[in-house]
């Protein structure tokens, strides 16, 4: 382990249940009258960045917040559908902090930090209270209390939700908290701005270089601390469920300035997306995992039926019960359709690889998510409630449909818009797609990167999800980091900065600004022949084929080589229209982002190649059990892989460090959902 002195996880040495409480009591404070002298930059205004910006400014710090959208209300957290977890045990199903902790650790396949996950579970219930106070219209039962539902990988009902728009409601709540502070002048909001570099002075983060996307002006911003909350990098696959603008540039720039990158190869593939239709497609749409509460997943068990379904000569309703293969219920009887996302995704791939896919697309990929059973069940219950004797099947369908509508209305509507099929009448077609990246910048227990003064929160860091993220836990982490963790831990660092004056006059700012300008110039004057999308699609193909749902040694080596070649080709042959002094230029924005993806992609493949085991979202074909389940290797790989970029060296020369993972509270065992 080389250079290990450079990073220390700062995890307090005490019993797991006391770590956070004890740690908080040792953190240094900044007195209220000093806080207004301190400036903090927050990059990204989704759930993590928005909640952090609101909380920090409410505490009295001066905050500058940046987002590339036209308003913080549009950050991609808005698209999260299903819900947010909290261990409140409102349902009396014996939920507890320990149960949430245990499910999350197990769900992450024992590749996450025990201390961080425990803290997350501890804080979870505060988040719900906070959001209720802010006016989030969570679903309620008839007695007026908060309603919950269940998600994959758990056996309790702990997911709080607002129909299929939970992310939207949570984001709008933290956006309005931000708005309140913007009104007071404590947050200075920079909409339509993109961070293009991190500025460090003597190895300490002191500011950022940003581009005003409307005027094209390059701006220098200094601050006492920088918080990056820029989200995940799933768009590297071109087709993903991420918003079109989601990118890796902010975290990649921090990495190249000395921030270590952890577990880059962990990309979650979400099992319930609408299958790909054609090669014109720009993005994939997710159907919330919560649908698996009321949907049964199946494919036909006869190959000829699959062919009939694909060519349209049979409808799903024509396949009789005994000719259906409810493969999740068959393989994993105890969790059934609610197995974690990685397990559900691989099981779907396995069926489609064997030829049972039902969608008429290029790769014949797709499975059914069938709601007819729940519609029937709910219809029957409602008919009983209303005292209807012997309801007809039409009555039951009508009543059941109403109940489904109240639970998932917008999702069904969205599906119909995209596919032109009515999911109340016929099963949805779904297939796995790239969704969430568990890897990200390495942070310590205080959420600080290996660069002092630079913090990373939410999806942009690596810390809480291990190699797989359970549903409804991303919203939980984003808000926990922003509302309840960072505001405490950042003070510890800032307490040393109260007399420090900041300025953008330092030579490091001029240098960083020049580098940014040079790169823009290079892109625009390149005068190649192909548009940016061409390279992005090609990169996406390489990533999906070799670094996607399953990986192997040969494929990963190929991926590394292909990405290097593509990167060379990009810089030789990309064409970016417009002029350097133009303002708004979305092709230029895309070009910068794809250039960064073309480097990060190589690191992802290198990381996947190094990890000779299967765990969570990382499935190495060489390491599997006879039944095709992931085979983990705890003896050799129970660590976080932490990559260090070396200035003036290619990506392939990055150094890997290991942060060993110790489990004291959770018993490490092989994951079984059977």
């Amino acid at each position: 382990m080389k250079n290990s002195f450079k990073f220390h996880s700062e995890i307090p040495v005490t019993s797991l249940t006391h770590k956070w409480i004890d740690h908080k009591s040792t953190l240094k404070l900044v007195s209220p009258n000093n806080r207004s002298n301190i400036e903090i930059i927050v990059v990204g205004t989704g759930l993590a960045g928005g909640s952090a910006a609101a909380s920090l400014s409410e505490l009295g710090y001066r905050v500058k917040a940046f987002c590339y959208q036209d308003s913080p209300r549009r950050a991609h957290s808005v698209a999260a559908q299903g819900g947010i977890n909290a261990s409140k045990n409102y349902k009396g199903d014996n939920d507890s902090i320990y149960q949430l902790f245990y499910d999350t650790i197990k769900g992450g396949d024992y590749r996450s930090r025990e201390a961080n996950v425990y803290r997350l579970a501890e804080i979870s219930s505060n988040i719900i209270d906070q959001c209720v106070a802010q006016g989030v219209p969570f679903a309620r039962d008839y007695a007026g209390y908060l309603e919950t539902r269940s998600f994959g990988g758990t056996k309790v009902s702990r997911t709080f939700y607002a129909k299929g728009q939970t992310g939207q409601q949570l984001l709008l709540a933290c956006y309005s908290s931000m708005a309140r502070q913007i009104g007071k002048g404590r947050i200075k909001m920079y909409n339509r701005h993109e961070m293009l570099d991190l500025v460090t002075v003597d190895g300490v983060a002191k500011g950022i270089i940003a581009r005003n996307l409307i005027s094209g002006k390059i701006e220098k911003h200094a601050a006492h601390a920088i918080v990056i909350a820029s989200g995940g990098y799933g768009n590297i696959f071109f087709l993903s469920t991420n918003a079109m603008g989601s990118n890796a540039s902010a975290i990649w720039k921090v990495h190249k300035k000395g921030g270590f990158f952890a577990n880059p190869c962990y990309t979650q593939i979400h099992p319930t997306c609408i299958p790909i239709h054609g090669n014109y497609q720009s993005k994939l749409t997710l159907m919330s995992e919560s649908l698996r509460n009321d949907g049964r997943i199946w494919v036909p068990n006869k190959l000829e039926d699959a062919v009939f379904l694909r060519n349209g000569s049979k409808k799903p309703e024509d396949i009789s019960e005994e000719n259906r293969d409810y493969y999740l219920e068959r393989r994993y009887p105890s969790f059934g359709n609610l197995v974690p996302r990685d397990v559900a995704s691989r099981a779907a791939k396995e069926r489609c690889d064997k030829g049972f896919g039902i969608e008429n697309n290029e790769n014949k990929e797709g499975v059914f998510l069938d709601f007819s059973f729940s519609i029937e069940k709910y219809g029957k219950e409602k008919a009983n409630e209303l005292g209807i004797q012997q309801p007809s099947s039409l009555d039951k369908k009508k009543l059941g449909k109403k109940i489904m509508e109240s639970k998932y209305g917008n999702l069904f509507h969205m599906y119909e818009k995209i596919t032109n099929e009515d999911p109340y009448k016929t099963p949805m077609k779904i297939y796995p797609a790239v969704h969430y990246t568990m890897g990200g910048l390495w942070v310590d227990y205080n959420l600080m990167t290996s660069i002092p003064g630079c913090y990373v929160i939410g999806e942009a860091n690596f810390s809480d999800h291990g190699s797989n993220r359970l549903g409804a836990s991303a919203l939980m982490q984003g808000l926990a980091d922003g509302y309840f963790i960072l505001p405490y831990t950042i003070a510890d660092y800032l307490s040393k900065c109260i007399t420090e004056k900041i300025s953008t006059k330092h030579i490091a700012f001029q240098q960083a600004e020049k580098n940014v300008k040079d790169r823009i110039q290079k892109l625009i004057q390149n005068n190649g022949n192909m548009p940016v999308d061409f390279f992005h699609k090609k990169l996406g193909n390489i990533m999906w084929k070799y670094v996607g749902m399953s990986r192997n040694h040969i494929g990963l080596c190929k991926a590394i080589k292909n990405i290097q070649e593509l990167r060379y080709e990009f810089w030789k042959n990309v064409f970016v229209p417009g002029y350097v002094d133009d303002g708004l230029n979305s092709e230029l924005e895309k070009a910068g982002r794809v250039a960064d993806f073309l480097e990060l992609g190589e690191l992802m493949a290198m990381d996947a190649l190094n990890r000779k085991e299967s765990c969570g979202s990382h499935f190495r074909e060489e390491y599997q059990t006879k039944e095709g389940e992931a085979l983990r290797d705890d003896v050799h790989y129970k660590y976080v892989s932490v990559w260090e970029y070396r200035k003036n060296y290619p990506i392939s020369d990055e150094i890997m460090h290991k942060e060993d993972l110790n489990f004291t509270f959770a018993k490490v065992q092989s994951r079984s959902y059977k």
Binding site: Q69, P137, F138, S176, S177, N191
Partner: protein
């Protein structure tokens, strides 16, 4: 499918805009409207003429929830399909060979930035004026179940809260009124016990700001409700009016 597109091009807020005609061929009926524009843009880029820059338009999530996409298509906000954002609009809703007109939102409080992109920060300023509950976010609040809310009331507040802030209501209104947007937020909070404490101040401030920003008044033509991609009801406008009047009397 093939289309003739008449698209509004405008270099910036100061210069005059104009319609430019484009032809596009072999578009799948399953592609979305924005995907069709992506294809067109790549064709423009491939021509490599410095004076023909790709068309700028706003978009992000492409799942109908972020509210970033806009576009006035054939005289309708978000195009011909109801309850749909432009990103969720698919080409199967058009006829082969059709001529399609594409324009930006046209409203004074939404100045044009470039081509089809407008500046909707006036909506942010309305929220900043009071569209929130003044609770701090870092401390301790009471347990969520200590504030029971009837299911009916919670559902009603939820329906109001689903507004995505896209601005279609303003774009289609002959008075350029933002009443649907503002009333949705006012109603969401006024319907919940947590929001009742500040309801008077909130409605006064938000309406004042809305007027300052130059949005017009509501004359109950209800086109906003028809074109709202989230189907927000004009009932909330009545609700807001009641709140407004009551704020003077209570």
């Amino acid at each position: 499918m093939n289309f003739k597109l008449k698209i509004w091009r405008q270099k910036n807020s100061k210069e005059k805009g104009y319609f430019k005609t484009y032809q596009i061929y072999n578009i799948s009926s399953n592609s979305s409207f924005l995907e069709m524009l992506d294809i067109l843009n790549n064709q423009i880029i491939l021509c490599k003429k410095k004076d023909s820059s790709p068309i700028s338009f706003d978009h992000d999530c492409r799942e109908g929830i972020c509210g970033m996409c806009s576009l006035y298509i054939n005289g309708r906000a978000h195009g011909p399909d109801s309850l749909t954002t432009t990103c969720q609009l698919h080409m199967r809703h058009f006829h082969d060979g059709e001529t399609i007109y594409v324009e930006p939102w046209r409203a004074k409080p939404f100045p044009i930035i470039k081509d089809l992109i407008v500046d909707r920060s006036s909506f942010d300023r309305i929220i900043i004026s009071g569209g929130y509950i003044s609770v701090n976010t870092f401390g301790k609040t009471i347990d969520g179940n200590m504030i029971p809310i009837s299911k009916h009331q919670a559902d009603k507040a939820f329906d109001a809260s689903t507004c995505i802030g896209c601005g279609a209501c303003v774009a289609v209104c002959k008075n350029r009124s933002a009443m649907l947007f503002v009333s949705a937020k006012v109603s969401q909070f006024a319907l919940l016990p947590q929001g009742k404490i500040e309801r008077k101040k909130r409605v006064l401030n938000m309406i004042k700001k809305m007027d300052e920003e130059g949005f017009g008044s509501c004359t109950n033509t209800r086109t906003c409700e028809v074109e709202c991609p989230k189907g927000i009801s004009t009932e909330y406008i009545s609700f807001m009016n009641r709140e407004y009047i009551q704020s003077f009397t209570i």
